[in-house]
């Protein structure tokens, strides 16, 4: 049981990491969703074997699932939900501004890497921006 959880967490982390390295922000959002699930599964797996629902006065204490990782997971899920929405808002804004949701290069960086700084290149940078 626990081993299956660990493999699921690892697989999700691998796919999530692959998606996060993409240029398109919508893929990055998907990647972070998977990574978030992976982290939650890891937390659950860390809590030990499964058991009955941990509700006070209703189940036997020694057959309970460990409630602490569940509480931690719940917090993590709420945070990752909010951040997914924020990333989607960013993607939408980028789409409004440039017509797609790709992460662009740092122009200043490219300018400094490419040439000695001159006034012309400053002007060129600003035109591009």
């Amino acid at each position: 049981m626990s081993l299956a959880l660990v493999f699921a967490a690892g697989g999700l982390a691998a796919i999530g990491t692959y998606l996060v390295t993409a240029r398109s922000l919508s893929r990055i959002v998907l990647g972070f969703s998977l990574l978030g699930h992976s982290a939650v599964l890891a937390l659950l797996a860390a809590g030990g074997p499964a058991g009955e629902a941990p509700i006070a006065d209703r189940s036997e204490p020694d057959t309970l699932a460990n409630p602490l990782p569940q509480a931690l997971s719940l917090t993590a899920i709420v945070i990752s939900f909010g951040l997914t929405l924020f990333l989607l808002a960013l993607a939408r804004r980028q789409h409004q501004l440039s017509g797609d949701d790709l992460v662009e290069d740092d122009l200043e960086d490219r300018r400094i890497a490419a040439s000695k700084p001159t006034t012309q290149s400053h002007a060129a940078t600003e035109e591009a921006a």
């Binding site: 602490l68 931690l72 917090t75 924020f86 990333l87 501004l97 440039s98």
Partner: protein, 499 residues
């Protein structure tokens, strides 16, 4: 005292909600922001006095057992950094309010309340006694910083915001997985219990956990090779926001590194940390030398200076960690004030590109003085605070016979001076290029009125604060040394939390 510790976290959050509720009424909103920031600064100072006199204070939130519940712990290290951080945020907010009167600032409706959320997150990250709450505190800091960075929606901000959010979100996910690993290995996330249980783990597992959290906190702290998001994103934000980020965000990462590694006794990681420290110093300063925009130069210096704090930690001696603590105290206001001066220059000249500004020292002698003091301090010249902090670190390095890192740190200092000289030559000496376009500021006149007095006044106060750090270096060093002794021998910490 219990209430004070809790108020430091809860107070800014409540004030933030109040500020949001009346966001359209600027005077009331600004009063709430300034009032609450003044209050938390005073509370932090009170806490420092209490901790200095009576020792570490631990608060069990909701009265739960520390193994299950949240603990807030104020030791000397936490109280010291808290005072400096809160005072720095207060100064920046005064600057921001002045700046809004000249219509140069961020969207005034959201910036104040968001800054308060950031403040609460910083207080929580400093005071927290368990790893998961530290994760939540980081999220609180980062979420407010994401919004502060991008909420104006300009193209450059969205572009760099995407990199910033992706990088930090990835580190946060790694943090969460790391928490799961630690919980699986030890059965707790409480730092005091971890201080007892992690040293008993097999050494491979200790190395794994240590390196994992070095990557997690190292990304937040922008150490080599995890720093590339920082110089890309910070310069695009409005001045006040960059100033807060520069002064505090990376430093909270360093704070977490120092807290975690000293509590869990990761001395074996010392050489790894020292190597990262040396490369971070050199790469950061080399990056700064290649740039020709004030904000970007200063952003690379953030990275470079992180190396010095890591150096103190990597030595794992009382003198080394005390040096890192003192460096942290010096660095938070210095970085903030340099960005504030950069903002004043940008406001005055309409740009922060070196080759478009010249001869400022004749036109604006006050600006020149306000820049010169923190710049020389950053480079580590006597008699400023940077000299005291760097001297402490170099002495600690020599005492531990860690010569390579001492040589690297001195070389990086000289290069920092060179980079500051480059800014000085570009901005303050020479003449303004004839073809430099005069960019008209949004409201026209930015040079007079209350707004100008507030921005310059806030900057001057912060500069005076950095000079005060140099003047009171003796007592501050004693405090840092006591804090470092407590950090390296966490018995007092664990006794207070678990006892």
């Amino acid at each position: 005292m219990t209430a004070v510790v809790a108020l430091l976290v809860a107070g800014p959050l409540v004030a933030s909600a109040a500020g949001l509720a009346c966001r359209a009424r600027s005077r009331l909103r600004d009063t709430i922001t300034i009032g609450s920031l003044t209050a938390v600064t005073a509370l932090a100072a009170w806490l420092l006095i209490a901790v200095e006199r009576d020792g570490t204070i631990a608060v069990r939130v909701g009265g739960w057992d520390p193994e299950l519940g949240i603990v807030l712990v104020a030791d000397l290290f936490a109280a010291l950094i808290l005072v400096v951080a809160m005072a720095t945020i207060l100064v920046v907010e005064i600057y921001a309010i002045g700046q809004r009167r000249t219509a140069w600032g961020a969207d005034p409706q959201l910036a104040g309340p968001l800054l308060l959320v950031l403040t609460a997150g910083i207080a929580l990250a400093i005071l927290t006694g368990d790893l998961f709450t530290l994760f939540v505190a980081f999220e609180l800091i980062l979420v407010s910083s994401y919004v502060l960075l991008t909420h104006q929606g300009r193209r450059g901000q969205i572009r760099s915001g995407m990199t910033y959010v992706t990088m930090n979100l990835f580190a946060s996910t790694l943090f969460l997985i790391g928490v799961a690993v630690v919980y699986a290995a030890t059965g707790t996330v409480n730092l005091a219990l971890l201080a007892e249980r992690i040293p008993e783990l097999p050494s491979e597992l200790q190395w794994g956990i240590g390196l994992w959290f070095l990557v997690v906190f190292g990304t937040k702290a922008a150490i080599f090779p995890l720093f590339s998001w920082l110089p890309d994103s910070y310069p695009t934000a409005p001045t006040t926001i960059t100033a807060v980020f520069a002064g505090l965000l990376t430093k909270i990462g360093v704070y977490a590194l120092i807290r975690f590694n000293t509590l869990t006794g990761m001395e074996d990681l010392g050489p790894v940390i020292l190597t990262a420290a040396g490369i971070t110093m050199l790469v950061g300063v080399a990056g700064a030398l290649a740039q020709d925009d004030v904000k970007r130069i200063l952003s690379f210096h953030i990275v470079s200076q992180i190396g010095y704090m890591l150096m103190g930690l990597g030595l794992f001696s009382v003198a080394g960690v005390a040096g890192a603590v003192l460096f942290l105290i010096h660095q938070i206001p210095i970085k903030t004030v340099l960005f504030l001066v950069g903002g004043l220059i940008e406001e005055h000249e309409g740009t922060s590109a070196l080759d478009r500004i010249g001869g400022l020292s004749a036109r604006q002698p006050l600006l020149a003085a306000l820049f010169a003091i923190p710049a020389l301090s950053l480079a580590g010249l006597p008699p400023f605070s940077g000299f005291v902090a760097k001297l402490a670190l170099v002495e600690a390095g020599i005492a531990e016979l860690a010569m390579p890192i001492v040589v690297v740190s001195l070389a990086a200092s000289i290069l920092t001076l060179l980079s500051m000289a480059k800014i000085w030559l570009g901005l303050f000496w020479g003449t303004k290029p004839d073809d430099a376009p005069r960019i008209v500021t949004p409201t026209g006149d930015t040079r007079s009125g209350l707004g100008r007095r507030l921005t310059v006044g806030a900057t001057a106060t912060a500069v005076a604060g950095t000079v005060a750090i140099a003047l009171f270096a003796g007592p501050l060093w004693d405090l840092s040394e006591r804090a470092a002794t407590d950090l390296l021998d966490p018995v007092a910490y664990t006794n207070e939390v678990l006892g």
